[in-house]
Point group: C2
Chain length 278, copies 2
């Protein structure tokens, strides 16, 4: 039987791959791509059934580029998940922590492990194109003093050995991912969580317009879980807003709120309704 | 006469250095640091008079880490500026574009120049720790086929030559920077722009609380220029909000709005009042 195909950005063993597993289970056929836009193209061209995209990180903020693609391609969000970003020192099987002299990884990952390098001055940090790819490089060589910094999933994928777990400076490093497909199922999968809706809208260019838009939700006691403004290119004083709130179309309040938003915005897009991650 | 000292994160020739120049002029003594937290420490320990920190990027979103430091250290924001992120192919003096075989830079910069590499397949992209540092590496060597990808400022600083300008995929790549100091001047420098105020607050944990907080500004016709929510660590359903709006303490509406926000929030911090960048 054909396995479920899923596109993500990055190399095998990337944190996006872990998000795919959390969202779809383990029996997957992974299609890694170099750029975010490639995963949307793969979905459009029916090369994959699903795509998984990071949308925000607790330290680094929203990935605006993926919001742009969501609005342009109009693929519905059908689920969300959170992945804790954990960095590990990873060596060849049989390697010893005390022998490691160099650690390679993506500079962003190296920059999130500064305390580790300060307390282990015998290990030199060296940049590499990709976290998952750094494990591949370590495994392709024979150097027992070379290690990579990457996810536990990357270590597992390449058959490498974790020498030290959780070496990142900040334990509150989480990335939220969306699961996308071409057409949302009529009924979402049964879930313990409440339903969440993600919308994006452009307000009319008048004072207090966001306040009036937000009244569409507030007057109906629909709880916000995210709001973010983004200035519009070449349109000073006009903004795109990203809003997440608890609710789904089965709730009459949801439909009334959307009607009011249609009336009070210049443009409104429902990006998806999906079970809230627990 | 002693030059003005300013701390920033990154190597010489970084985009933060360009922000320093836009904010403070050319006659500066630059103090580059490895991590964001280091620039706040330098300011606290009076090693520098100013610090410059990136707060958001049009493609990558807000730099939450710097909001954390702003709230913790309580240094006032006294100015803002926007830097367009322009990537250039940079070689040694006398190098020719047609001879370049390898281009080194920070992976984030390489990832923003994918179209360039697709149309110039003779040039291989290789990762390096830093954009500015990649120019330094090119200049320290003697290889006429090696180039760096970095800002024009980095090319100038290291005496290198720009072989191709503006090779980035997206021209709408801007980063907003804040200028910080230990104590805000009583009166801001004369400016053509309106005054802007940045605040951060935590809402009380009850439905519609953000809506009530926003009424403090909306009922007084104070225009929002940014709003962003951020979940609080370990406190589900509670959020920190970042809000920018046009106004300053000289305006009575500003004081009334702050009084209402004090009443309706659990915690309120004024991060600074400063002339809006034009």
């Amino acid at each position: 039987m054909a396995r479920i195909t899923v596109a993500f950005q990055g190399a095998r063993g990337a944190f996006s791959e872990q998000a795919c597993k959390q969202l779809l289970g383990d029996d997957l056929s992974f299609k890694p791509f170099e750029r975010f836009v490639d995963i949307y193209d793969a979905l459009e061209q029916k090369k994959v059934r699903y795509a998984v995209a990071p949308i925000e990180n607790t330290l680094a903020g929203s990935v605006h580029e993926n919001y742009d693609h969501l609005i342009q391609y109009q693929f519905p969000i059908i689920a969300e998940t959170r992945v804790r970003i954990v960095h590990n020192l990873i060596g060849r099987p049989g390697a010893k922590f005390g022998d490691i002299k160099r650690a390679i990884s993506h500079p962003v990952a190296l920059g999130q492990c500064l305390t580790f390098f300060k307390t282990n001055r015998q290990i030199r940090a060296e940049s590499h194109y990709d976290t998952g790819g750094s494990v591949k490089t370590v495994m392709e060589g024979t150097d027992p003093t070379l290690a990579a910094i990457a996810s536990a999933a990357a270590a597992e994928y390449y058959g490498a050995q974790i020498l030290k777990r959780e070496i990142e400076d900040n334990r509150e490093n989480f990335t939220r991912f969306f699961l996308l497909t071409r057409k949302a199922p009529k009924r979402p999968a049964k879930s313990a969580g409440e339903m969440k809706t993600s919308i994006a809208f452009i307000t009319k260019n008048s004072p207090g317009s966001l306040f009036r838009c937000m009244s569409a939700l507030a007057l109906r006691d629909l709880s916000l879980t995210k709001i973010e403004s983004r200035p519009l290119k070449g349109r000073p004083w006009e903004y795109m807003f990203y809003v997440d709130f608890l609710g789904s179309p089965e709730d009459p309040r949801w439909r009334h709120a959307m009607n009011q938003l249609e009336e009070m915005t210049e443009q409104l897009a429902v990006l998806g309704c999906y079970p809230q991650a627990t």
